[in-house]
Subunit: 210 residues, 2 copies
DNA sequence: TCGAAAAATGAATAACCATTCATTTACTAT
DNA sequence: ATAGTAAATGAATGGTTATTCATTTTTCGA
């Protein structure tokens, strides 16, 4: 599809594309059949490719699963990074953008949520899964805490504890995601966003509306 | 061990005990190896019994898993029921007791949390798992909303939306449980309790302290 | 256009695992 | 005590599935 200047680069792009294609198929299959039931055959069929293809590109099933988790993690992290480093946004705007992002189409896609929670459910027994996310979780928490600290100063919110607010918001978002995954008929994306805003409004009433 | 008056009752108690023994072993094994990797051999070995025992008492692996989820669900629900129907407690005391319970030893046991999230991670692909919990989730939400509504009246909290507060608290608790499971070194039980209290204090400042 | 090298295929393999059931063990009523 | 019944055992079975690799197809420089 995409043209490349030299042969080596074209091949490597193509290999990259194959890997992504397989990762996408994996996300869909985990959502459809569950992490404990997906087979290699499911994934390769979904991708429209042959049986042996995963081992060719990822060596093993386990490595494909790990790369799938990494893909989703990276996607989430990079979206937030763009917001944090946007020089045009004020502190309050960055926080608003963060929350909008947390409940945007890309993030609350139920297939991806299913993958998130499938892996969370296994972290206790497979620390590798956690280690993939540990760094970015710490980064995001650190950035968000910083934003809250700034807004506390800017808005003279004497009683706000930025770290506590960050822990609370993060846990709230996790819980809302779980709700969106398991009871999609109960909680709608917009409501989830409103709940998150409702909490922020309790901390920064002059900047956010419930 | 326990004496029984008649033979039939003794046998039946014994069968019950076997089932519970196997459920306990299942909880431990899911926590240790993950839902996607537990085998019947793991479970029977952990229980110190023979291979065929699960099929004898539960017919199949899937049924044992379902009973395990049901066991944990029932345990959680019955604990909350006792609180809701305690005639000696005021509304505020019931809410406090609910939160204390949510972050008590019994509930935040990491083995049990691992089981919870293992099943949540599979609900999209196995609606049966959700159907086991759906009723009790609705019950608990309804009870909690009612408590919040009562406290709103009793304490003249004009701005509180009981339903919103219930959704927010519930999601927050879910998120904190996830934190307790995956980053036990980061978030301690007492902190998690404090975070939950912090939120409630924003809604009912005259009744709860952050 | 052609040939070498990479990519992809899919049938065969070997490991794993839930379930079965013939046999053994434990219990209880007479 | 003993026969009869229920519970438990664990070796054997059959189905499933990740992985391998000999073969085929595609790509691309010369």
């Amino acid at each position: 599809m995409a043209a490349a200047k030299h042969s080596a680069s074209k091949r490597s792009v193509s290999a990259q594309a194959r890997r992504k294609q397989l990762i996408m198929a994996t996300i869909k299959c985990i959502a459809q059949k569950g992490l404990s039931a997906v087979t290699m055959a499911d994934i390769t069929t979904e991708a429209g490719l042959s049986q042996g293809i995963v081992n060719l590109h990822f060596q093993s099933k386990e490595k494909l699963l790990i790369e799938t988790l990494r893909y989703i993690s990276d996607e989430y992290r990079s979206g937030l990074d763009n917001i944090f480093h946007d020089p045009k946004k004020t502190t309050a705007e960055k926080i608003t953008a963060h929350i909008r992002y947390d409940f945007s189409r890309t993030i609350i896609d139920r297939n991806k949520l299913a993958v998130w929670f499938a892996f969370w459910g296994e972290t206790k027994s497979r620390p590798t899964y956690l280690s993939i996310c540990a760094d970015y979780i710490a980064d995001i928490a650190s950035n968000l805490t910083q934003l809250f600290a700034q807004l506390k100063t800017e808005g003279n919110y004497a009683n706000v504890d930025p770290e506590l607010t960050c822990v609370c918001y993060t846990a709230l978002a996790d819980g809302l995601w779980l709700d969106l995954l398991v009871t999609p008929k109960g909680l709608k994306p917009k409501q989830a966003y409103n709940v998150a805003m409702h909490y922020l409004a309790t901390q920064f009433p002059d900047h956010f509306q419930a």
